[in-house]
């Protein structure tokens, strides 16, 4: 079995998973909380401006889509640093 921890978000929380050297940094928000939405949107926009790619993903990885603008109703959003040819 893979030695992994299950990622559990608090009830009602949506999350940005921002990839970085620590694995990822998580920014959570409740769509009903305007301050949290504003904070998450600011993080999203700041990273998009740096060239990060954003994907909305579902629970099991079977579906998803790339987005370019913040969606407060998206459950899980993964932000990856820009790709670079090696």
């Amino acid at each position: 079995m893979l030695d992994v921890e299950t990622i559990q978000l608090p009830e009602g929380k949506h999350c940005l998973f921002i990839m970085d050297h620590s694995g990822d940094t998580r920014v959570m928000w409740d769509p009903r909380n305007d301050d949290e939405v504003t904070n998450a949107r600011a993080s999203f926009d700041r990273l998009r401006a740096k060239g990060y790619l954003a994907y909305v993903v579902n629970e099991d990885g079977s579906k998803g889509t790339m987005i370019t603008t913040f969606d407060p109703n998206a459950g899980k959003v993964i932000l990856t640093p820009p790709l670079r040819g090696g």
């Binding site: 893979l2 694995g23 790619l53 990885g61 790339m66 640093p81 820009p82 790709l83 670079r84 040819g85």
Partner: protein, 232 residues
Amino acid sequence: MMPTNTITALSDTQNRIWRVWTSGKTSGSTTACTCPWGTDDSIWNGWVTAANNTTGTITITTTANVQDTVWRVWLNEPHARIEVVRAALNESERQETLRRAAVPTPAEIEADRQRREAARIESERQEALRRAARETASKRARSLLVANLTREQRAQYEKHGYFDVQVDGKTYRINQGTHGNVAQVDDKGPIERYCVQPDGVPTEDAMLAQLLALRHAPHEFFAKANRTRIRN
């Protein structure tokens, strides 16, 4: 007031002779000279006498021509002698200071050993912290990767250390790694290899970024990737 001049020794040999005399003697001393070429106190004593009396004369018996040459150079510059003595003594003190500084005391050696040991321990502690941070980051990244694999991909990753993703009817394999770890494959093996990744993230994050790009932004993936054709 006595004018001061500087004397220019004619060669390094003369300088050495002068320094041996002045380091083995102080003005008025009767200590035996430690010149390697002789112990003739009359050289020193005669010189000291002459140095204190600019009109004095001295008769010396030299044992080597080189001593005689040096002596005559000094003697022919009577106004400079005192300055030369001072400079030579200062130089002697400077050499002694340097010699003492160059030879550490046992306490200094021990202090240096303790400093080195403390630095080594701190370096190991920092390395352990970095290693722990890398392991934590890798574990966190693996959790995020696995959470975004399908059931089939998860089983494949667990069994083989790679997983496949289908894009436009083609199969792409993402192997463990960050550079050149993605390949288009068929049942005969790899066809083309791709090198494209994000910077500054753990390996499993890079693999997830590659997977997400292949799945949802293939144009971005192939536009950035360096390709290596393996077979047609």
